[in-house]
Symmetry: C2
Subunit: 191 residues, 2 copies
């Protein structure tokens, strides 16, 4: 197989395992096993575990960027786009119940490990943060757009954490709906 394909395969498998088991709890052997290659071959593509993590984070950023572009194409209004973001917690309900938010749980883990990739992980948050900020600006809230974006991020993270703790889908839906209503109320405040 060509190196590019194997490398991508490794990143995909590592991405999923880092999400579902955590970065530290996932070993080279785990990833190699999931991909179906030997541990030795591994070393040909990535010298260290940190290299894999960096590649996984880069892949996540690229994927999220594509997702945001798609949302912009699908949703016509800024409020609709923000609501689309909030809707993640419902669309990915099952995974979030079991493994939490991929972004939040990774930054939390890397922060505790004092890992150098912490800043790259935070960059995923920043991607959403600025995108949400743009939407709030388009909503006529240029002055406090970033504050509002941070509020949406924080609320989503809170929902994810509690969702993981209690597996309560009613709670998740109720909070998401409430946050969407809040967004619409912010839109009404424009002008």
């Amino acid at each position: 197989m060509d190196a590019k394909g194997t490398r991508e395969h490794i990143v995909r498998a590592a991405d999923e395992l880092f999400y579902k088991q955590g970065f530290e709890h996932t070993s080279f052997a785990d990833v190699a096993g999931a991909v179906g290659i030997s541990r030795g071959n591994f070393y040909y593509h990535f010298k260290t575990k940190d290299d894999i993590l960096a590649a996984v984070i880069a892949a996540r950023i690229a994927e999220r960027r594509r997702m945001l572009d798609q949302w912009e194409a699908e949703q016509d209004t800024p409020a609709g786009r923000i609501r689309r973001y909030i809707n993640i917690v419902i669309a990915n309900e099952t995974d979030i119940e079991d493994y939490g938010c991929p972004v939040g749980t990774l930054t939390t883990e890397l922060a505790k490990l004092g890992h150098g990739c912490m800043d790259s992980a935070t960059a995923i948050f920043t991607l959403f943060r600025s995108w949400l900020g743009e939407q709030f600006t388009a909503l006529g809230r240029a002055d406090d757009a970033d504050d509002l974006a941070m509020h949406v991020l924080a609320a989503s993270q809170g929902i994810a954490v509690m969702s993981q703790a209690y597996h309560d889908r009613e709670f998740t839906r109720r909070e998401a709906a409430q946050l969407c209503a809040w967004v619409d109320a912010q839109a009404a405040k424009e002008e």
Copy 2:
């Protein structure tokens, strides 16, 4: 030294290390080093690492219970008590920036590890959840007291996650103040 004292000393050290480094990333040697005893002596007090975790969680529950009692004594009104809870994110600002919320980050980690102590960790959340529920009931919101309690928990967790990601104290204070205002608004709705 007597066994009780050493045991408590171990639990205290493990509590701090589990919080600051994460459960998995903390080894027997780390805890033994922090306490100043040998790894062998360790085994006399706790047979397995899971035993230590169970003891740490039990200690956290007991400590939080004491804290809630104190808040009830200090604060006269239900709203004041809820605001006192929200104020944690500001009072413990420095630690939360570096290590996140002790309860949220632990449940997140244990969930990913598929650890058996996950339920005990969730019990710490439940302690706050029912206490907050009681306060909202006292506020005249018996019907949706638990929903409101969950909302406060989620909001606090969200603030903690973003605080850890961005170390932005202005954000933390703004969100905490906003949440306190929300509590007061809920109180106003009673009648």
